[in-house]
Structures are given as structure tokens and as C-alpha cells.
Amino acid sequence: MTDSSDSQGPAQSPAQSLAGSPILQVRGLAKTYAGGFQALKPTDLEIRAGEIFALLGPNGAGKTTLIGLICGLIRPTAGTVSVGGFDHVRAYRQARALIGLAPQELATDAFESVWATVRFSRALFGKPRDDAYLRRLLEDLALWDKKDSPIMALSGGMKRRVMIAKALAHEPRLLFLDEPSAGVDVELRREMWGLVRRLRDAGVTIVLTTHYIEEAEDLADRVGVIAKGALILADDKEALMRRMGRREISLHLTTPLAALPHGLGDLPLERVDDGARLVYAFDARGEAASVSVLIRRLSAEGIEVRDLETRESSLEDIFVGLVGGPR
């Protein structure tokens, strides 16, 4: 529902199905509440068609605000949003038809049946009735045998899936999942991730928010980090890990080393455990000398390596470094 005039507006370009092209463009989007609280600082963001984008951030960081602003639940103070080339105010009908939203709160019409509620959602978005599609959707979400149950009779995990079914009922191209695994047990979370991947494979672009870093690390193609109302970064997960991640090779020595030989002074080596171990740390992935070269140079100095282990810093380490703790 909107407050704007009903004009369809000059859409910049029709929705394109080119993978990798932006399906969502956010420019200078900001929200300051009447009381002066700045929930979202001016934010730019591009979501590419076909990707899974994870928006990471502590509670209250502004994840839900950003989604609410894009989906029309919150009135922006400034900025523009374009979905599939359609401005979300001037061409709100086309823009919104492309978006599906599954909010964090489990808000459902308790007395409605699952079937009635997904049919309602589809019609609300102006799509003609298609029982075959809705059936496939409910089957895919393991809700088909519950289709005649009133929603209030379902478990929390099922309700969460009903919310997702409602969001997908009108065949959106861009799906927002706000904390899809909040309050969901581990097994169900894995199931949810499988579902998200299947949706992506079916061509749906997915933006999900989470404060489980594991979730972003496991699922996302790209990661955005939001803290205190500001989008600190948005980057490919791999690139992010490469850029900000740290890799360590820990070398256990046969005989402890009293001091690091001068011949190895050019390498980022550190003596730990009273010389029982050498730690070789580097920031960028793939830019380090190969392990065999490292071993060879150590042997050349007469240092014998008993064992070796490597460790990569996780997204969590990066995240903690960025926002100072996941909570």
C-alpha cells in the first residue's frame, strides 16, 4: 500500500533477467525518526540478480530498518530505491510485484488455513490464481499436508515456513528474509539454508539478515555488514575473507629454536611457545609463498618441522574486528 499518487511513473528500464546485473539499487537511503534517532545513515547498496546477500549486524544495527525502507513499511527520510529498474515510489506497483518479504516477527492470521493465506497473498499482489504453483510451493516447503490446518495449530518452524510461502506466493524475483533462522533449532536451520539455496537455484535473488555469522558464511555469495545504522561494507564473501581474513601456518619444530635465524628475517615468522613453534601469518590469501618453499627455506636453515597446521580466520573474526563483537 502506498501514499504516492497512482501514476506508474517513468520506469527507467524494464526488469531484466541478466544474472549479475543489479536487481536492487539503493541510493542514499536514510531514516531519521521524528525524535531525532538516526536508524539508518545514508546508504548505497546494490544487489545483483541471482545472488544470496547476507546482511550481518548486531541487534538494533539497522538491518530491519533497511529492509522496511526498501519494502515500503517505513517512510524514508531521504534516498531512492529501484527494483528491477522500477522506482519504488513512482512505479511502486511494478517494483513491489518483484519483491517478496518474510519479516522477522511471526505475524500470521491465526484462524486462516495455510491454503487460504497463501492464496490471499498471491491475489493481494495482483497475480491470477494458480493452484498448481501454490501446491508446488507448499510441497517444497513441506507444508502441503498442513494446507487445511489453521495457522495457529502449526509449530513455530512451520509458521516461519508459512511466512516464506506467503512471501513467495506471487513469484517474486527478489526475496527478503529477515532473520529466517531466529528462534529456529539447529536442524531446522540447516533445512532453511537448503531451502534458500534451492530458491537461489530457481532464480530468486535473496537478501537475508542474520546475526548468526555462521549463516552468512555458509550461505552468502556476498556479505554486507551493518552497525549503528551504517552499512560499513558490502563485498563478495570470498573477497572479504581474502581482504580482511588472516591465515596462519603454525609450524611445530622438532627442536625448539632459541632465536629466529637472520636468513629468515624477510618472512613474517613469529617465535611462540619458547621457540617450540613458529607461526607464519599473512593477510591475503594466495599471496603467500607456497608451503613447500617455506619448508625448504626452513630446512636450509637447519630447522626441522615435526608438524604443521593451518588456520584461517572466520567471518566471525572479521566481523568482531569490524563491529567489536557480534552483540
Binding site: F111, F120, F125, G126
Partner: protein
């Protein structure tokens, strides 16, 4: 345009009503019957005719109007307050639905229910008293107009109210007194001096008077004035709703 969306809201609201049809319909039928037993048969038999109309028949339009007003405001305010309260409003706000399509769905359904209810009450009343119907088409027109107008008003209240208690404030503190004092059970000509003039400030007097005219061809106040007042109130409610959506008042932070 999204006619499917508007229709979906309308259907959703109607199905909620049909699911509880017994309560929705039986309760007003019972209360109307009670009114007829008390006012029509028990007291009415001791009362003289009002403006040449038997008292039992005289109260039919007023009673119907009373139900239409209450039900319109109640249904429409509940219809929009419920998704606000439960959180399901997110779906409406994110859907490609314009404000007037949403209003069509919510207000249209609320008005439909009131008109159906009004018809049921008129039929029930028929079992007790054979009232005349001088202008049936105008009677129906007034019924629809009033139902739509007060459903729009109810929609505004439903958005404004921040809790279920507040939802009851306007109907119980303003609407019910106005309706009872608006001549549901009497002609304002029966009132003593200052109260008759005071009554003319009560908008419901105009509604009931004009509605009664469509039955008995007799009115306390001018029918065109009544029609104008109702249309004016409808326009006011519409403007309020338009502003609500334009500013996001209590819907969108």
C-alpha cells in the same frame, strides 16, 4: 490498478465474517427481537401513535440505523486494527495496492456486512410489525450510504486506536449516546423545549429522520439537508483516510 488485490482484501474480510456468521448475525437479530419485545410489544402497546405511525413500526428505522451505525464502525475499525495489532499489516504495506484499493477492500466489506445485517433486522422486524415502506429504493440508498460513510469513519478509528480499549472509546462514548439521543426511539418533536434545539446539533438525528422518511414519508428535519450532512461526513472521513495514507499516520513509521 490491482483489482485482484482489492478483491482479495474484500474476500478476506468477508470470509472472517462468514466464519463467525452465527455470532455476527444471530447476536443482532436477538437484540433486535429484544428491542421489539420490550419497546414494541410491552411498552409500545401502551404508547400512542407517533405522527400517525404505530409505535412498534415507528422504531423500526431507528433500530435498523442504530445497528448499521454500530456495526459499520465496529467492523471497519476491527478490520484494519486487527492487522495493525497482529503485525500482518506488513503484507498490505508491502503489496502493490493503492490506498483506495485497500479502502475498497476494508470499507467495502464492512459496509456490505452492515447492509446485510440491516436487511436481516428489517426482515426480523417484519415478523413483529407490518411497517409501511414508502420509498424502498431511497431506503436502500440511505442504508448503503450510511453503511459506507460510517465504515469509512470506522476505518479512521481503527487506524487511530492504539489498543483494543481505545477502539471502543469512540463507539461507546460518542456513537451510542448520539444514536440513542438521535431519535431512534422517539421523534425529536416529542422533546421539551431546549432539548429539541440541542438535538439538531446531533448529526445522527438527520440520519434517522431521513431514513424514517423513506418508510413513513414523514420527517423531523429536511431530507436533502440530511443527505447533504451524510455526504459531508463521508467526504470528511475520506479526506481523513487519504491523509492517513499520505502521511503514513500510525501505519508507517
Amino acid at each position: 490498478m490491482n483489482p485482484l488485490g482489492a478483491l482479495a482484501i474484500y474476500r478476506f474480510e468477508m470470509s472472517r465474517w462468514f466464519r463467525t456468521l452465527t455470532q455476527s448475525l444471530l447476536a443482532p437479530v436477538i437484540s433486535t427481537t429484544l428491542y421489539f419485545v420490550v419497546f414494541g410489544s410491552a411498552i409500545g402497546s401502551r404508547m400512542s401513535a407517533v405522527d400517525g405511525v404505530a409505535y412498534a413500526a415507528f422504531i423500526v428505522p431507528g433500530l435498523t440505523m442504530l445497528s448499521i451505525l454500530t456495526e459499520s464502525v465496529g467492523n471497519a475499525s476491527f478490520g484494519i486494527h486487527m492487522p495493525k495489532w497482529s503485525g500482518t499489516l506488513y503484507e498490505l504495506l508491502s503489496a502493490p495496492v493503492s490506498w483506495w484499493e485497500a479502502v475498497f477492500g476494508y470499507v467495502g466489506a464492512a459496509a456490505t456486512k452492515s447492509v446485510l445485517l440491516g436487511a436481516v433486522i428489517l426482515l426480523t422486524a417484519r415478523l413483529f410489525v407490518a411497517y409501511p415502506l414508502a420509498h424502498p429504493a431511497i431506503m436502500l440508498g440511505f442504508m448503503v450510504l450510511t453503511a459506507v460513510t460510517f465504515s469509512l469513519f470506522g476505518f479512521v478509528i481503527g487506524v487511530w486506536a492504539e489498543g483494543w480499549e481505545r477502539l471502543q472509546i469512540v463507539p461507546s462514548l460518542i456513537l451510542t449516546p448520539l444514536t440513542f439521543l438521535g431519535g431512534s426511539f422517539y421523534s425529536i418533536a416529542m422533546l421539551p423545549h431546549p432539548w429539541r434545539e440541542v438535538s439538531l446539533f446531533n448529526p445522527v438525528v438527520y440520519l434517522i429522520s431521513a431514513y424514517r422518511w423513506s418508510f413513513f414519508d414523514r420527517a423531523d428535519v429536511s431530507v436533502p439537508v440530511s443527505l447533504l450532512a451524510t455526504c459531508g461526513f463521508m467526504a470528511l472521513s475520506l479526506v481523513a483516510i487519504w491523509r492517513i495514507f499520505a502521511t503514513g499516520y500510525k501505519l508507517k513509521p
